[in-house]
Amino acid sequence: MTPLVVIKDLDKSFPGVKALKKARFELLPGEVHALMGENGAGKSTLMKILAGIYRKDAGEICIEGVALDIPSPRAAQDLGISIIHQELNLMSDLTAAQNIFIGREPKRVGGLLLDEEALNQAAAEIFERMHLKLDPRVEVGQLTVAKQQMIEIAKALSFKSRVLIMDEPTAALNNAEIGELFSIIRKLKAQGVGIVYISHKMDELKKISDRVTVMRDGEHVGTVPTAAASVDTIISMMVGRSLSEGKTEVPDLSSHDVVLEVRNLRRSNVIKDVSFKLRKGEILGFAGLMGAGRTEVARAIFGADPLDGGEILIRGRPVTIRSPQDAVRLGIGYLSEDRKRFGLATGMDVAANIVMPCLGRFLSMNMFLKKRAIREMARSCIRQLRIKTPSDAQEVRFLSGGNQQKIVIAKWLARDCEILFFDEPTRGIDVGAKSEIYKLLNTLAAEGRAIVMISSELPEILRMSHRIAVMCEGRLTGELLAERATQEDIMRLATQRHSLTTNTSNAAPEGSTT
Amino acid sequence: QETYIPLISKGFQHQFWQAVKTGAEQAAKDYNVRITFEGPDSETMVDKQIDMLSAALAKNPKAIGFAALDSQAAIPLLRKAQAAKVPVIAFDSGVDSDIPLTTAATNNLAAAALAADKMAELIGGEGDIALVVHDQTSRTGIDRRDGFANRIKEKYPKINIVSIQYGSGDHLKSTEITKSILQANPKLKGIFGANEGSAIGVVNGAREMNRKIVIIGYDSGKQQKQAIQEGLMAGAITQNPVGIGYKTVEAAVNALKGEKLEKIIDTGFFYYDKSNISDPKIAAVLYD
């Protein structure tokens, strides 16, 4: 069988960074080939070259045995290569259907006018195939990241390509949607489509991939059949060492003070009467399906959105929080789930982003920047979180997705808050760094900080939390003690509603342990 | 070596200034000197004109012609010219200073007063009239407005100026202004348009509104002449722009020869209407 794609000795440099060094890759028809590696290993870069977005510096790309050049996204499309980007790449003012078919709109009246009806129809059909309940006419800018991600997937599917590249397609999805995606992938596979699958979720590997290629620092480390390799082998290929994992010890917190209490929080119909308590030194996991309202609760407490009603008490005293500024002053930090929109000033450098919430600490005479201190702070964060960047003066948008996420975390570490909301903190982060972050969360909690961790990854919730709150459709549907909770318990509480995909109930419990 | 005399005027694109330029070029040919002619886009740009004057001085001119937008603002540079022994000839309107050797200008106040007299005569000494002026703050704008308005106030108590509006000499804007004035004042008897663009605007506006009023214009140009011939415009004041340009260069040349100059060269103005528009004396000072 001729491989669909053979990549040999590919080199690619960016100013100050050698992103790919003699990288190799091979994709067979009807194969799901996982591409693994730490953040910044060069996975996205390799795939962007294959998709005609970047030009290679040196090396060879063969498509079905023919060596050729892929100068533009259009050329890649013509070769039957399509890609789901790691970062969302949508036109937020256009509708879902318009986004999917941009450049390939169905026409009528001899190609003069757009056939909007056919367009929506075609999009609806794809959504149908994905079991996705979404109006094709809804404007994309109003959707949550998860739904936008589903649109990206729908768009890639609409091409009916021979090679489908998926760069972390599930980072924003929950188990139900992931299950749905996997069944689509299996169908495509049966049709002989070659799929490149990039992910940091190790459990997905075993479930979907046939072979795994591991990259490190832009180089090819090895390619192994998934069935023959254990997750630990793959991890040690990725990070060059093995990781020890263990469940968090749940300390006895009953004697600790309640630092944050929320009573009857309400905001239109996305937050309905939410109350909870958070103790000093506690990690409270917030579980729920996509759109359950966890983000909304965190944003509301943080003062990012106005509240319709409810009380917030900090250390027993009622407070009013009208803006994020008030919240930060009261010692609350919020790490947003959408780093590009809400987390980072991507045009600014690493150091500037890290010290943004705590700039006041780095001023002399309340005015002048202490540049040296800022740089030191940034460097210590870079070291602590192993952020892969040429320097603290690199603009954030040139970093790989996972490293951008680490910057957002570094921001709030530098700020040193009493109460921290982490909204999907490990989204897009590699296994090595993930375990660093878990350690970090534990340390923070041990130091007496109170943490709310919102996550759609059940294993992560189960592993990290001391206590788990589950939300559904804007309501808190239950609280579980972490020691005794199981994925099934959480899902039961979380699915007292309709999910984004129609067959939630059977796809949901498909979660696994890593 | 050639004799170079830059002229810095108040404007450039308007036909009036183009006519001044024509006159200056004519004189340049007659006296075998080289001239350049420049002016800012609008009569409010005092500082831009100063920059032009400054650049002109840097070119080591033999003499300079200058139509000041604001004479005070230019004094430091004029002093510099004086120190460099470059004779300065003022044109179009005076410079409040004794540096210019002479001034070749129209008396705009008197000219506008003549327009007022004609207006009064044509509307029978009573009724409502209005003014469409090109500029609220420039010297020519102020002089023509005040020359007209003061004469009406002094001599014609029964005439009432109901509106004075400013249209930057922009034909279209002046047209719209005229239409709103006519709309607001159904009994209006006449409008004075204080420069070419304003006057054409008034003619256009009255025509579009289909109103018969007495229109008195200022300066000439093909459309104004045509409007007078067709009876849409009663008449207009003309200065002698070609003469202004010519006299300015001539005065500069004479100054360089060391001749003594009169303090004022009055280039004159005339009222023209259908009856005398073809009169050679008038035709000579009109431009297309």
Binding site: R74, Q77, D93, I102, G103, L113 | L172, T175
Partner: protein
């Protein structure tokens, strides 16, 4: 800029289909008209209303041209002088060369489109920021209009049917009680056609897409450079139409006119709710914006407000009108 508008937009979008919304969009305009009607009996005269429409014709057409460009997230400073340039071209063809009127009309529009395509090429291919590319074009065309015309107005006296373009009234000939001048008719035709093109054709789709996220469009395999050039070309062609309207209205091509018109045009677009950061906008909004400016100018003149106060009041009311619109969308 995009970020801070997100909030408002989210809420507005929910209603955006409603007819109610469409009527409310006129609210500021109607409120203004109501005030002026009460303040002066001369305001609501049919003659005056037609006058207002006629005063909107040129700025309205220019604003429509600017809308295309602004939706792509660009800006066009050259609309005013391009209009003049096209008028001069018409003058050269008709008066200097004595060619028949249709030729002059085609020449003016073609000249506009050609200049637009030059701007578009500078922006798309040479990556010159739209502000600079169109600023350069603005100056270039301002100079060329003077050079070509010989710094003299060109009159259309030899083309007796030329005033037809904007002054006569085709509608009035059919419906005598509605003597809407042809210039206004052209404005509405241009507006309706543009609105149709923007919402119904691939070209319109790409116009919005470019302003929304150009990179994403490019990554989808669309030839963004090509479409951007087309957008500026169309915008230039529409400026050519504006050139014909103003030339016909003044029965002459005035080469010195035009600078400053770009600000009025852009203002109309922005008052009409189109965001300068691109991606959203409507022709209806632009026309309302242009009408707001005309009504305001006309009303204040009718009231014989002193000119210096006219600008003060205009400034304040423009801010208030936009604020009212923001509140309306929030509500």
């Amino acid at each position: 800029m995009a970020e801070k508008e997100a909030q408002t937009v989210i809420k507005s979008a929910a209603f955006s289909q409603g007819a109610w919304q469409k009527i409310l969009a006129f609210a500021s305009l109607i409120a203004l008209m109501a005030v002026f009607s009460v303040a002066s009996e001369n305001f609501l005269q049919p003659d005056n209303l037609i006058g207002i429409l006629q005063a909107t014709a040129v700025n309205g057409v220019l604003a429509v041209a600017a809308t295309f460009v602004i939706i792509t997230g660009g800006i066009d400073l050259s609309v005013g002088t391009l209009m003049t340039f096209c008028a001069v071209i018409a003058g050269v063809f008709l008066t200097y060369w004595g060619l028949p009127m249709p030729v002059g009309i085609v020449a003016a529009i073609a000249a506009g489109a050609l200049c637009g395509s030059v701007s578009g090429t500078l922006i798309a291919k040479m990556k010159i920021p739209p502000f600079i590319a169109t600023l350069g074009m603005m100056m270039l065309l301002k100079g060329l209009a003077l050079v070509i015309s010989g710094t003299r107005p060109i009159y259309f006296n030899d083309t007796p049917s030329f005033p037809l373009i904007s002054q006569e009234s085709l509608i009035g000939a059919i419906l005598p009680f509605l003597p809407v001048p042809n210039g206004v008719l052209i404005l509405f035709i241009v507006a309706i056609a543009s609105s149709f093109v923007l919402t119904r054709t691939a070209f319109g789709r790409y116009t919005f897409a470019l302003g929304s996220n150009e990179e994403a469009v490019r990554l989808s395999g669309v030839n963004t450079d090509f479409w951007k050039i087309i957008v500026y070309t169309v915008s230039g062609g529409i400026c050519g139409i504006a050139g014909l309207i103003i030339a016909s209205r003044l029965n002459s091509a005035q080469p010195a006119l035009g600078q400053g018109y770009e600000l009025d045009a852009i203002a109309a677009v922005v008052i009409g709710g189109t965001s300068l950061s691109g991606g959203r906008g409507t022709i209806l909004g632009t026309i309302i914006g242009a009408l707001i400016i005309s009504v305001l100018t006309n009303g204040l003149r009718i009231l014989s407000v002193a000119q210096e106060w006219q600008t003060v009041v205009t400034g304040v009311i423009i801010i208030l009108a936009v604020y009212a619109d923001i509140l309306r969308r929030k509500a």
